[in-house]
Symmetry: C2
Amino acid sequence: MSKIDGVMSYYAELLNAELNKAIIADNNDYGILAEAMKYSTIDGGKRIRPILLLEFYKLFGGKSAEAVKFATALEMIHSYSLVHDDLPCMDNDDFRRGKPSCHKAYGENIAVLTGDALLTSAFEYASSVTDISPERVIKAINILASAAGINGMVGGQVLDILSINLDTAEGLKKMYALKTGALLKSAAMIGCVLAGGDEKIEHCQRYADALGLAFQIVDDMLDVIGDESKLGKPVGSDEKNDKLTFVSIFGMEKAKQTVIDLTVDAKNCIDEIGGNGEFLKDFADYLASRTF
Amino acid sequence: MSKIDGVMSYYAELLNAELNKAIIADNNDYGILAEAMKYSTIDGGKRIRPILLLEFYKLFGGKSAEAVKFATALEMIHSYSLVHDDLPCMDNDDFRRGKPSCHKAYGENIAVLTGDALLTSAFEYASSVTDISPERVIKAINILASAAGINGMVGGQVLDILSINLDTAEGLKKMYALKTGALLKSAAMIGCVLAGGDEKIEHCQRYADALGLAFQIVDDMLDVIGDESKLGKPVGSDEKNDKLTFVSIFGMEKAKQTVIDLTVDAKNCIDEIGGNGEFLKDFADYLASRTF
């Protein structure tokens, strides 16, 4: 196992344990809701957002083990957005992470409520942090909610499902900056703010913006050249759906070069912050070069 | 206009103004989302939860005008729950407050996102309070999220849509205690906590529990004897849907008496707290005797 795989697998375990602690039904009568919430969060995804949050927290000298509660909250919000995105009235996706999506497994009504409950639990768990100063916790909650709401992730989702200006590179960038970029950026910002690194928050934002855009471009590239069995989802769907992507706009070569440039810029941000940011630089390389 | 009508109409205006301030799309491209959020909140309902929050805040000596941000957050959460409850996969209601429900007016996908954005904005707005101590704000956010989530409102909604144990008085009470009671209770608790009245929080909870149950019983009574044009919704739907209600379990007379007893108990709580709680006592009477 490479060093970065080792770190990621450590974080994966940590998140699973925390999600199990955070998601509890006080009463068995609605135990199915806790089950669907766990189904939609545990063992899922690469945990990129929590990793960013916790690594930026460490970079700025944060010491509290409770920062993991914020990382968990962030992952719950990411997961709720996937559950609602998959709904029949939205993207109507039957599979997610290689298994039936929440509404296929539990029904549409429970899927709506699973998303609602995950979003709400995120704020409940984040506001249960006691050993970081309340000023910092409130600021972090505000960053999290702003990133997830109308002027962040949900706004971006509106642009996506209504295909608003998605026929231009600018429009596409804007949609992704809101739909996926805002929450990624909040991860870096929250780590920074919880540790009191506010004066360098702009570097964190720049790193996360570059990383987020690179990530999306790689996603578009993988939809053309990826391996279906590794991705856990069908490839070629963008072309089939006549969907404009960074690859269809720029071509594969320019897309590749843009990912390289963005990754260099992300790593520069970490050097400008100073301190021990080796992992965050490796992480940018890792995400840029992923093949699944 | 009676005194209580005057106070309620003052609060209605205040809430409309605050909702207009709180719901802003930074960009016109997803302006439809802000429009749907306002459609689902402004000029809607009796604002019972915000009124309770602000009146308890006053009762415990709270002075900050920013408490209204929490009241607005609470109303956004109540409104989001109505938007999602009305969805085709949930209660499938075409009308709400005498006009087309959100998904009828804006489509199902925008309705899901409207609910998501309202829920998220609630925490954004609540965490933007600056002139109440951060310790109190975090505690209040935690109460709000707990009441709205899996072990509160959303859990209760699961019991309702899956009809879990709704064929007994106990099961029915439990469902309502979660589905509508938890958020009402949080209103009283948040007002109390924001003003630093924590040592009397149990009285606030008891008042709100009694008020909430009485409110639900009156709702069931109005479904039998109410005036459709005043209620803005069809009556007789519970019987038509073979739905067990407090009236069908207890009969009309015992239901009435229970409302009277609960209202007396609610008013006793206010006397036990002390201070100037006249409005909260009048409010309990008003809700118990409402005919629409």
